[in-house]
Symmetry: C2
Subunit: 458 residues, 2 copies
């Protein structure tokens, strides 16, 4: 969150180039490229490399760069990538790097070290960063208290601009990410905010309380990180103050961390809906991917067994009219597609807090489902009559389509809402339940109706 | 992107409260609540209300608030919500509000006004904002040039801190979102950046070029907004400078707009994968939802017809062994689930630029698919033997599961990659193609194998 004194993205630092240098053993040239590059670029490179190549490149970074450069690189990597590299080092060195990181990044890593090591590292860290990490560790993961920094600039409301500037100058090195001066009262409650621009452009004798913006938007340490991100995004803030139980200012969450939270949460939703672990990337090993994906597929296998069994129960009708076997897949599949649409809209509404009345939403989705059922039912019925040359089959398919669209619409609303009530992430678990409903709904309605009509007419 | 002089989120401004006031006709109280509230809260409220309630509330906002408050409210609404309200007004009033908005928001709205009105409004706007909007309109939608602001603070490299501060003070009102001083050379090329903190904490006689950070990360006006967002997010910037074809500084994109881009793009991907229009929310009317969703469902209906036809071709085998009709849905469904997993990982890899070697990724996905095919094939085969009491049926189901998992894995890699090459957004179109492959693959492999074995054994 500052204008780093590091070069811009450098074309020399790409995976193929680094790989070539590694294989040629061109260590000097490698050292020059890696130490001069922006930490973000080094981090991306290390994450993209694998196995011994990653270890070799990391060894060069460790030996040739300053402590703060290494710390910056680690901060920019995802913990899943940096932790295996870090845990190879001595507790002493880990402590050195963690001391140089911003408190939230250090805490994130420290909390993932296994236990005897974590305690050792904390004991070996410099006093001040260690205290910061201990403080942040007191708060639960994914809360404001865990992702905040205590590195903020606060001043008393009676202080003048000249005094505030002098204070900032004296402690300049501490604050790499100042964009606001937080104004607090005698009991440390945040009462206002002054931008650095105001500090620069207002008369130096003015007291902060005369020019501060009042009614500061703040969050408590226990606020969910998603809520923090939502507020920062909505109100266009650069940082949001965090207060403790007594409403005292204890930290700030900056916009760069908010962007990370937003990206993380959006990605998690996308992946969860598809049954993919947040850990998996294209670079994940085949074996690990298999481990991560197999459980989800087995859950789905269990659920596909249910509609198969429903169809099995109607094998007598299918024997009489085998075309039913072909057509039953249509209401099943269409129900799944329609349910996914409804589900996604509802999950999005839940995430954005736009879902005020469940019954209203359900009613509307019911109407949409009915409409789509009619449209698709008519088209499907026509196709079915064409393929089977029996108008009865078309009628049944059309009706089953309408029924299953309604099943899709209703389950697409109520399942995510119910899961949310049960405090289960609707993005993770909704799909599997909803498609089970629509698969059973589609097969049961189509074959059930067909069987009744078959009995009536034959 | 500043500390607005507006109150914090206010509990009084909720949909039920405002609704009650509207129905009671408590206009005075309504005016007080709406004019005192933060523009973000008013915008959210107006977006949540519908029909005549929205119009009534908007009328109160219009009549009782300052021009800049109305402009702020409009800026915070999505164009889909604000445009219908705006286009009811006279060109003159629209011009007044657009003149008060930041250039990117005004441009966004102006570009969506229908044509004679848009030209009228631009002609009626104040000279400077109109020039800004015209400039931004020259660039394509979703590029840096379209979402930038020309409201940045640039200084010559020879200027001293004292001179820069004086310049900032003189033009203070212009710059509501200054966090960096951009340092330019004689030809207006950006050569460095100085943070306001540095300005405050370094000796006033220092020349900017002595303390600026060099190697500024910048983008060209034609850069895709996703690329801009990626850079700002990755390098933790508050704003990124935008340069024209001659590398001259022409604007900046600020982090608040980047957050909007990131949220928009993430949401679009999520919605596109589910076949939902970005326009649709839980509050969209049933009729509009139906209009938006029906085309996607009809496309899907066409594709569900294909596997149905495949099954129909095997009706002779199904008549002999009706249990086949029940079990064919299992490899079809599982192929779809596995394909969605692969697809999501690949689309994510494409978005993050992590997909360097397609053949490597395809090979790995093939391995994962084979592994999942074996695991799920064995379980499914056991179930099939149990239900049908024929080991032949189990064997066929197991084999079909392996084959269709491979179909899923391969199509899950190649279809998004191919769509990307064809410059079609893979998130939008992949699902429908891939599930067609897996539906046909599942039915064809299972019923084909079964038919062959049936012929051999009977």
């Amino acid at each position: 969150m500052e204008t780093r004194s590091k070069p811009a993205p450098h074309s020399a630092i790409t995976v193929p180039v680094i790989r070539k240098l590694l294989h040629r053993g061109a260590r000097l040239r490698l050292a020059r490229v890696l130490t001069k590059a922006h930490p973000v670029d080094v981090a991306r490179l290390l994450s993209a490399l694998q196995g011994s190549e990653r270890e070799q490149a990391f060894a060069v970074v460790l030996e040739e760069s300053s402590t703060s450069h290494v710390a910056d690189v680690m901060s920019e990597m995802s913990p899943g990538d940096s932790l295996p590299l870090l845990s190879e080092l001595s507790p002493d060195r880990i402590a050195k790097y963690l001391s140089e990181m911003s408190a939230d990044d250090a805490t994130n890593l420290a909390s993932r070290l296994h236990d005897p090591l974590a305690a050792q590292v904390l004991a070996l860290m410099e006093a001040e960063p260690a205290a910061d990490v201990r403080e942040l560790l007191e708060h639960e993961e994914r809360t404001a208290g865990r992702i905040m920094t205590r590195n903020y600039f606060a001043q008393d409301e009676d202080v003048t601009i000249a005094e505030a500037v002098a204070a900032l100058q004296k402690r300049s090195e501490e604050f790499e990410m100042v964009f606001y001066v937080y104004v607090v009262d005698k009991r440390d409650h945040p009462v206002g905010v002054v931008s650095l621009r105001k500090l620069l452009t207002t008369h130096p004798a003015t007291q902060l309380k005369r020019l501060m913006v009042q009614d500061v938007i703040s969050v408590s340490t226990s606020a969910d990180q998603e809520e923090v991100a939502r507020l920062v995004a909505e109100y266009n803030l650069l940082a949001i103050p965090v207060v403790d139980d007594e409403d005292k200012l204890v930290g700030i969450v900056t916009v760069d961390d908010v962007i990370d939270v937003l990206q993380e949460e959006a990605e998690e939703d996308l992946l969860a809906l598809a049954g993919v672990s947040a850990e998996e990337r294209v670079s994940t090993s085949a074996f690990r991917s298999l481990q991560l994906r197999a459980p989800w597929l087995l859950v789905n296998l269990a659920t596909t067994f249910l509609p198969a069994y429903v169809i099995f129960l109607f094998d007598h009708s299918i024997q009489i009219l085998p075309v039913l076997a072909a057509l039953v897949t249509m209401p099943m599949g269409m129900g799944g597609n329609a349910a996914t649409q409804t589900l996604t809209v509802v999950i999005r509404g839940l995430a954005l807090n736009e879902l005020s009345s469940v019954s209203n939403v359900a009613l509307k989705q019911l109407l949409v489902a009915f409409g789509n059922g009619i449209i698709n039912g008519v088209v499907a019925a026509a196709l079915a009559v064409l393929i089977s040359r029996r108008w009865m089959v078309g009628l049944v398919l059309g009706l089953a389509m309408v029924i299953n669209m309604i099943v899709a619409g209703v389950s697409g609303v109520f399942i995510p809402v119910a899961l949310r009530k049960l405090r289960i992430d609707p993005a993770v678990a909704s799909t599997v339940f909803v498609t089970t409903f629509t698969d059973v709904g589609g097969s049961l309605s189509f074959l059930g109706l067909a069987t009744i009509l078959l009995k009536l007419w034959t």
